[in-house]
Amino acid sequence: MSSATRPALYSEAIRDRWRRPRYRGELPDATATAEDVNPLCGDRVRMQVRLDGDRVAAARFAGDSCAICTASADVLAELVEGRSRADATRLGATDVLGVLQADVRPTRMRCVTLPISVLGRALA
């Protein structure tokens, strides 16, 4: 099957976030940082946030991960900006998958949840 007729592997949103992540990078004035690996594949994700009082003023991610995990981290960073700390920690896989407009198989669910658990640690 040629690539022209091949159905896309992932949703448009996942593919777009993988190719052009908006929130990948360093946050030089970060107030909290956490990092973890996915034991299944060795993927590594770091989340950085800058807290302004109780509000998440900025968030960035870094690491080496697959398209789903990268897209999840990118969406998550976008979603938390401007939220209160309590509000940010309530974000879950459903919120991220909603933005990504994707269903993910159980074997790849950890790719979605890794950035969420890392963010939870950064905000803890």
């Binding site: 099957m1 159905p7 592997l9 593919r15 590594r44 991960s65 697959c66 789903i68």
Partner: protein, 403 residues
């Protein structure tokens, strides 16, 4: 006749349709598929002969014991071990390596060293880390060089009178590198160290002779060599096994028990506590018979040809990088695709019913040497064909710039 043409119809699972296409199973290094003879032998055992082994004085018990011990004889012959007492059944390669590490670990003293290599599977690293911990002993490791082969000059530098164990893989599960076992075991022997070989990726593919290899221990799994899951083998040179205190206790491994002490059973049962995987041993007998009928030289030739074809086709695709030795290699090929994470490659290939492995392959130190978090890996067995390799190469070439 080509080997795959001869074998393919013996493997029922290869009839599977996945995502609307015939299955292309290129993940045998993780676990091979099973021929009908193995599946039927295990079913027949459960339907006609099952009972616990060794202490059941009735007809079924005797039949089960006979079948279980027959498997030991078949393994002994298959790997060229001098004596049946040297064949210990375990739960798998990881379990076999742990049994050695636990038992040898008890004899380690401050200053002792365990030498491993940078291409080991975690199963040949973590048990040794536990063995040296709290005993003042330490781990050292042989670095890699060139296309991903052991630095033999470093081996001589690192093997000293302090080295108690040299633990290394026969075949790398990532790079396909084939290590010179006889040479390495000889070097270990010269400094008085025990040699412990992880043979999980070698036994399914190579003709073996323990006497010629000259190692002290050799571990492997049934499920990677067309047999069932849940069973492994630990070959141990008799003199070494006899001197080793078993670290695990229970039934089967004892001679006499008091409430505060026990004496050990004879070899090999001394290292087999608990009811063993009996049906799995029956299945392993059938797997060995299947491989022997094909002939291991033919098996090796077939799989090596597939691996070399894979290396050549993949390396010719722009943006694809192949790891490991170009030619002298076993039946696994790891590769990377620019713009693609290994998991995404595997997911894309799965859409086309091509099953490959992606990730760190339980070899994270080696991943660091490669400079990646993971690779995509295709691996082969007796049922794979050059057409399947071509399908893989075609699918990889069609991946495009990014997911």
């Amino acid at each position: 006749m080509r080997l795959d043409e001869q074998t393919r119809r013996d493997f029922p699972i290869l009839q599977r349709i996945v995502n609307g296409r015939p299955l292309v199973y290129l993940d045998s290094a993780a676990s091979s598929q099973k021929p009908r003879t193995v599946i039927e032998a295990m079913t027949r055992y459960y339907e006609t002969s099952h009972a616990n082994v060794h202490r059941s004085i009735h007809t079924l018990g005797e039949e089960a014991t006979e079948l279980y011990e027959l498997a030991r004889d078949r393994v002994q012959r298959f790997i060229g071990a001098p004596a049946r007492e040297e064949i210990v059944f375990t739960r798998g390669t990881t379990d076999a390596l742990s049994i050695v590490a636990e038992a040898v670990g008890r004899t380690l003293k401050p200053g002792d060293e365990v030498l491993v290599t940078d291409l080991e599977h975690h199963s040949n690293l973590v048990p040794w880390q536990a063995a040296v911990r709290d005993r003042g002993a330490r781990i050292r490791s042989v670095p890699l060089t060139g296309e991903g082969v052991l630095d033999l000059a470093a081996v001589d530098r690192l093997l000293t009178e302090r080295t108690r164990v040299f633990a290394f893989a026969h075949v790398s599960n990532v790079l396909g590198t084939i290590n010179p076992v006889a040479d390495l075991a000889g070097r270990a022997r010269r400094v008085g160290a025990l040699s412990v070989v992880d043979g999980a990726q070698a036994v399914p593919h190579l003709s073996l002779d323990m006497s010629a290899l000259g190692c002290d221990f050799y571990a492997f799994s049934a499920h990677k060599m067309l047999g069932p899951t849940g069973l492994g083998v630990l070959y141990g040179r008799r003199a070494v096994l006899e001197a080793l205190e078993p670290a695990r206790g229970g039934s089967e491994m004892i001679k006499e028990v008091w409430v505060d002490r026990a004496t050990w059973n004879d070899l090999p049962w001394r290292f087999e506590p608990g009811t063993p995987p009996i049906a799995e041993a029956v299945g392993l007998t059938a797997a060995i018979e299947y491989l022997e009928k094909l002939g291991m030289d033919r098996v090796r030739e077939h799989e090596q040809a597939l691996a070399i074809q894979t290396v050549e086709l993949l390396a010719a695709i722009p943006g694809v990088h192949v790891y490991g030795p170009r030619r002298e290699r076993a039946a696994v090929v790891s590769f990377a695709v620019d713009g693609w994470h290994p998991h995404d490659v595997a997911a894309a290939l799965d859409v086309e019913a091509i099953a490959v492995r992606a990730g760190h392959h339980c070899a994270q130190p080696l991943m660091r040497w490669c400079g990646v978090v993971g690779t995509t890996r295709a691996s082969f067995s007796v049922y794979n064909s050059s057409e399947e390799v071509a399908l893989l190469a075609h699918a990889v070439a069609a991946l495009g710039a990014a997911p």
